[in-house]
């Protein structure tokens, strides 16, 4: 039996999953942790393409990140998907650019200037800071994220969700947007806003989208924020496009970007949209699931384990004397050796920390102790271009792992968007040239930096990208990648090592709490569980923000299949305005809540 049919048989056994798979109208799926939402979504896409949607019409599947889009593509390929016209698996931004702005913006009078000129991250920050200075606003009182959040919320439309206005942010936002227009540049928020406006105002655009995409499916809806929500509402109200939104309000943890669970819930509550709950957790045992419910401080979730029946969870509360370092040492000296003796492989262990500097510090400690480990989520893998570079490296080290056609297709795409359509002869010529370059580059395979410089030069990559609308924003990723390979994380890598980045192989995973979404491990170790650190002190008095912190904790616990470690230190040293100061620390409220429940449970037996 092929993989598609095999998986299909599996989900037929879960009535909720199957209902979501079969639904023939706009649907919202509220999918709890480990509920198999990705499987359902990818099976549904296959089903729609096989049986419901005829060529040349297709569908769009919108994901939160390029990585997720790539993962979907690979999964669909394993189900037998073959590339086809009008099937788009991409991020919101790419969707807006390549399906709305590039084809239609030139037909109408739009505020943004064409061709798109995307402002770089640095210029963006610079512009923002200039506005703050000019207005005499304290840099610490307003973050660029807060301004973006405000800008997102300023998008009017059909949603009834109201957010609390932030006056300072609003003023800065307005000025920022005006300056951006003056500079004839755009940023990602402007792109989505512009696309949404085009869809709202022009029937022709809607009809074309409806013709191309009878279905639009969205993964991780809770992370995508207001602009996308407005776009989806417009499509829902004004076209016959069927919407299939999947998400989990409990896992909405990107509030700083303006993503709140309410948008998904608004869709969920719409009487004309079918709502389905996936409540069975196929990852964790029931005790982990119950503990996660405590984290949320809610008891109406009714999640049930669909696996690991009659299995006990383990919760370990470890108190160290002082500082993070002691926690790192405990992980390295006690927990990991202990796991190994219990035959838990390293790739089933994950350490979750508060921020990036903790990731680095822990990584250093593990290096010293010779524990193989790997850092999940690399910033540079968010770029399509870098992922392609990585695929090229992978192909050079192992030609059977990746198809050269796919690699060269991407290259031809870039070239076409720069030069205009290429003739078949020309394409063949470019492919040949590309192949010979890759083959020549083999001589640099022991040095990633040299190898990349060679390709960059020979392909004239920077120039070509700068001249293309679709890929122009990648310039920035390329320069930050260069940084990485010369002095950063990827310094002294060879191609083999580079090609393995992002694929754990008998390694412990280290991740920040925010980046842990979508992962799963037998053992999850949470560090920094002190009061003021988690939940972060400034959020405790703001219910909305505290709730988000709870959801982060929920996400952390639900990564575990069976075992959770919580670590804290009694004393912590922080840099204050009076210099370094050491303070005693109480356990985090999350620690305490979970601890109390576990204790009472233990006393019951």
């Amino acid at each position: 039996m092929d993989l598609y049919s095999l998986k299909l048989e599996q989900i037929k056994k879960d009535p909720d999953q199957y209902a979501a798979f079969k639904s023939n109208m706009s649907t919202v799926v509220k999918a709890g942790p480990g509920s198999g939402k990705t499987t359902v979504l990818s099976l549904k896409i296959m089903h729609l393409l096989k049986e419901k949607i005829k060529h040349p019409r297709g569908l769009a599947c919108i994901t939160y990140s390029n990585e997720a889009a790539k993962e979907f593509t690979n999964r669909l390929k394993s189900f037998g998907y073959q590339k086809r016209q009008n099937v788009v698996l991409d991020t919101v931004h790419s969707f807006c650019i390549s399906e709305v702005i590039v084809p239609f913006a030139h037909l109408y009078d739009v505020e943004i200037s064409l061709p798109l000129n995307i402002i770089s991250k640095n210029d963006r920050t610079k512009l923002f800071k200039e506005i703050l200075e000019e207005r005499g606003i304290d840099k610490k009182s307003l973050k660029i994220e807060a301004m973006d959040k405000e800008r997102n919320q300023l998008i009017g439309g059909d949603s009834l969700i109201e957010a609390e206005p932030n006056d300072t942010a609003r003023k800065v936002a307005t000025e920022y947007e005006n300056l951006l227009i003056n500079k004839q540049q755009v940023d990602f928020i402007e792109i989505i806003k512009c696309a949404t406006k085009l869809i709202k105002e022009h029937e022709y655009v809607r009809r074309c989208l409806e013709a191309k995409f009878p279905w639009i499916l969205i993964d991780e809806y809770q992370d995508l924020g207001k602009p996308l929500h407005e776009m989806i509402l417009t499509l829902f109200y004004k076209t016959n496009i069927k919407i299939f939104a999947v998400g989990d309000p409990d896992q909405s943890i990107y509030g700083f970007q303006g993503a709140i669970p309410d948008y998904l819930l608004e869709l969920y509550d719409n009487p004309n949209i079918m709502s389905i709950d996936l409540k069975t957790n196929y990852r964790s045992n029931q005790e982990i699931i119950d503990a996660a419910a405590i984290a949320l401080n809610l008891d109406d979730r009714e999640y049930k384990a669909g696996t690991r029946f009659d299995e006990q969870a383990e919760f370990h509360f470890i108190t160290c004397e002082a500082e993070m370092d002691e926690q790192y040492q405990y992980v390295v000296n006690n927990i990991i050796p202990d796991c190994l003796t219990k035959n838990i492989p390293l790739e089933e262990i994950c350490v979750l920390v508060g921020n990036g500097s903790h990731v680095k510090a822990l990584s250093k400690v593990m290096n010293e102790a010779n524990i193989p480990h790997y850092l999940s989520k690399h910033e540079f893998l968010k770029s399509k271009m870098i992922v392609w570079i990585k695929d090229c490296a992978t192909w050079i080290s192992d030609k059977s792992s990746i198809s050269f056609t796919d690699l060269s297709d991407f290259w031809i795409n870039i070239l076409s968007s720069h030069h205009g359509g290429l003739s078949e002869d020309n394409k063949l010529h470019k492919r040949k040239h590309f192949l010979s370059l890759l083959n020549q580059s083999v001589k640099y395979q022991s040095n990633l930096h040299l190898w990349f410089s060679f390709l960059l030069n020979e392909l004239n990559l920077e120039n070509i990208i700068a001249g293309s609308q679709k890929y122009a924003s990648e310039i920035e990723h390329i320069s930050s990648f260069q940084q990485q390979i010369t002095v950063g994380e990827l310094k002294d890598y060879d191609l083999i090592k580079f090609s393995r980045v992002g694929k754990p192989e008998n390694q412990v995973t280290i991740s920040t709490r925010h980046s842990s979404k979508g992962l799963e491990f037998e053992v999850v170790i949470m560090l920094g569980m002190e009061e003021g650190n988690f939940p972060y002190y400034s959020t405790v008095s703001v219910p909305k923000e505290l709730n988000e912190q709870r959801r982060i904790f929920f996400v952390c616990i639900t990564r575990a299949k069976r075992v959770c470690f919580l670590l804290r230190s009694k004393r912590m040293t922080n840099l204050t305005r009076y210099g370094l100061r050491t303070h005693p620390k109480n356990p985090s409220m999350f620690w305490q809540e979970l601890y109390a429940v576990r204790e009472s449970k233990r006393s019951l037996y």
């Binding site: 029937e203 074309c208 013709a211 191309k212 205009g420 359509g421 003739s423």
Partner: protein, 660 residues
């Protein structure tokens, strides 16, 4: 069926291709392309084929030196380029086309697509040029239009030289097979039938004679090769493989069921074109739905419309009801377009010279049928039988000029319904002769039609030699004709009577039928009045620019190709001739009256009472009439008899035609 028209080409732009230096024309849904031989009718289609015809190979799309406009010398050494664009309208009711071609959008109201073929050059370092072609969508050269897109929107050309019989016999390509593919015919059903057919035909084999024959063969055969191998011989009737059973279908014609090979070439041509048209129809709404397909479609939103439009027959299939209201049909179309969707695409049909092998009456019939179809059609023709029935706004007129062939269309001529009908009627009666002239002299009546060619002959400027034709419109309503000929850019002159009149006083009625006399105080020329009205209505002249003096006004209109007489042509002729004997001579020859009548005519002529002469010609006693008189005169007239304005008109049209 009442379904929206299929997409059509609404505009064609050609630069530097074959006969065409620069062309920019608007087209409509049905077009008749006319013009002389070698003017470029086929090349005009070829230009569109470069973009839309799936049968052209990649090789065909690479051009040679000879494909460039002939006025350019060694084009490929100088980096000249060829560009052809077509705009498409009428596609946006279909989701499939929107899904596949929305990148090509030029504007959204009315929704218009643009596709462009560009044969472009890149210069090498040694100064020579490399050529590549690119076909792209919309205004951005980076979105290609490829064979994939051509599956959904394409052009099919039925060439002038066609071998219909072979085409129809070709199993894979025959139109009947194309048509069969549009149905959802199930293998199981066919297998069942094939099995039963086999059973029946096998009965033949049980005839004693055949049993005997089989036995004989077998015994002969086995004595030769022995029995060691499996070599028994048996007889089979026909090949009844269910996969091939449909291929055995043949078209028969008539009650005697003649096969196509026994039918006339003309009839086969019509059959072929009808089959092609049938296969190009919009098939979004299937006429038959299999039960399982029907049930599957019921799951979809809005499927109630199915129950209203289909009924189940005894075979279990759902058959589309005939006579559906337009409202139901529209709903059903949207439903099917959304959930079922024929993915075969749309074809624009180009027929070269449909008149080939056809009797004139059949030419008209097939043309009228083609014009009714939803499929957009372009046809080239030489046949006056077709052009004469072509709608006035469907003409694409190709004309050879010193700077390349010019293409003119009547698609955007705006005529009143009355004028349009008159013009159509005129074109029909005159067998479309207006399209075939290099220059046109428009005249009022049959008298001019007889005389003006003779006048031209007398002036040593024979009209035939220059391809100038004299068209009589049998009225003085020149306006629609001028509009129409203007749109086609055919040079023309208008010759019209002056129709002198006077009034008793400034505001009283015009009095006609008199020659100028001194006591006439308030005088005028109706010919001038009519011309003024036409030219102002057509926006050719501004009222304030018209000279107030009558003679100046007459001169003024000549630059707008209107040549106006004084009275009627006959009177002007008599007045202008030095030797008036010829008129008496022709009158005497033609009249049925006696000597007195002949004398009276001569008297009137002598005392210059030409009004009276004309009356005598038209009187029932003489039974001559203007037409016959002119006919008689036409064989004898000389330069002496030509009124100045007519001579000027003839010279003017000659100059214009020579200028081309």
């Amino acid at each position: 069926m009442n379904i929206l028209n299929a997409p059509h080409i609404s505009k064609v732009q050609i630069q530097n291709f074959r006969n065409f230096k620069y062309v920019d024309v608007e087209l409509t849904h049905k077009q008749v392309i006319i013009g002389e031989n070698n003017v470029g009718k086929t090349n005009f289609l070829r230009a569109i084929q470069l973009i839309l015809d799936p049968k052209l190979s990649d090789e065909d799309r690479f051009l040679n030196d000879t494909d460039f406009y002939e006025g350019i010398e060694s084009p490929m050494e100088n980096g000249e380029e060829v560009k052809i664009s077509i705009d498409i309208k009428g596609f946006d009711h279909n989701k499939m086309l929107l899904a596949i071609l929305s990148d090509a959008t030029l504007k959204d109201d009315p929704a218009t697509l643009r596709l462009t073929y560009h044969y472009y050059a890149t210069q090498n370092s040694d100064g020579t040029y490399e050529y590549q072609y690119r076909i792209f969508q919309g205004t951005k050269e980076d979105v290609p239009f490829t064979h994939y897109h051509r599956r959904y929107l394409n052009l099919k050309v039925i060439p002038a030289i066609r071998d219909v019989e072979t085409e129809m016999k070709n199993i894979r390509k025959s139109p009947i097979n194309q048509l069969l593919k549009n149905y959802d015919i199930r293998k199981e059903e066919l297998k069942d039938i094939a099995d039963r057919l086999k059973e029946t035909s096998d009965e033949v084999l049980s005839i004693d004679e055949l049993v005997h024959l089989t036995d004989s063969i077998n015994s002969r055969f086995s004595t030769i090769i022995g029995q060691q191998v499996d070599s028994s011989v048996s007889l089979e009737t026909i090949d009844l493989d269910p996969n091939r059973i449909l291929n055995t279908l043949k078209i028969m014609i008539g009650q005697g069921q003649r096969p196509v090979s026994d039918t006339s070439l003309g009839l086969n041509n019509i059959l072929y074109i009808s089959l092609i048209l049938l296969s190009l129809e919009d098939k979004t709404i299937p006429p038959i739905l299999k039960e399982d397909t029907y049930i599957k479609l019921l799951e979809e939103e809005g499927s109630e419309i199915l129950k209203k439009c289909y009924g189940q027959n005894h075979n279990g299939n759902y058959i589309l009801n005939e006579m559906l209201t337009p409202e139901f049909l529209a709903k059903l179309y949207t439903f099917m377009d959304t959930y079922s969707g024929d993915t075969k695409g749309f074809t624009i049909l180009a027929i070269e010279e449909p008149e080939a092998h056809l009797h004139p009456a059949l030419q008209r019939l097939i043309f009228k049928d083609v014009m009714k179809q939803n499929t957009s059609v372009l046809m080239t023709t030489h046949s006056p039988h077709i052009t004469s029935v072509a709608p006035i706004n469907s003409i694409v007129y190709l004309r050879s000029m010193s700077n390349g062939t010019k293409v003119k269309t009547t698609a955007s001529v705006e005529l009143s319904e009355r004028d349009c009908k008159d013009l159509e009627r005129y074109v029909d009666v005159k067998k479309g002769e207006i399209y075939f002239g290099k220059g046109v002299i428009l005249v009022e009546g049959v008298a001019e039609e007889y005389l003006i060619p003779s006048f031209a002959e007398a002036l040593h400027m024979p009209l035939d030699k220059k391809g100038i034709i004299c068209c009589t419109i049998n009225s003085t309503n020149f306006k629609p004709y001028v509009q129409f000929i203007d749109a086609l850019s055919i040079p023309y002159v208008v010759i019209t009577d002056g129709d002198y009149y006077f009034r008793e006083n400034a505001n009283s009625k015009k009095i006609f039928g008199y020659m100028y006399e001194k006591q006439h105080e308030f005088i005028g020329y109706d010919g001038l009045d009519r011309t003024r009205k036409i030219l102002i209505e057509l926006g050719k002249v501004d009222e304030t620019h018209i000279p107030s003096d009558i003679n100046d006004e007459d001169e003024f209109y000549k630059q707008y190709d209107f040549f106006i007489g004084i009275h009627t042509m006959e009177i002007d002729m008599m007045d202008t001739s030095k030797d008036k004997e010829i008129f008496a001579h022709v009158f005497n020859e033609l009249t049925s009256g006696g000597a007195t009548q002949k004398k009276n005519f001569k008297d009137s002529l002598d005392c210059k009472n030409y009004v009276d002469c004309l009356k005598k010609i038209e009187s029932k006693h003489s039974r001559i009439g203007k037409g016959r008189f002119s006919q008689g005169l036409s064989t004898e007239c000389t330069k002496d008899n030509i009124p100045t304005y007519i001579e000027e008109a003839i010279q003017s049209i000659f100059t214009k035609v020579d200028d081309l």
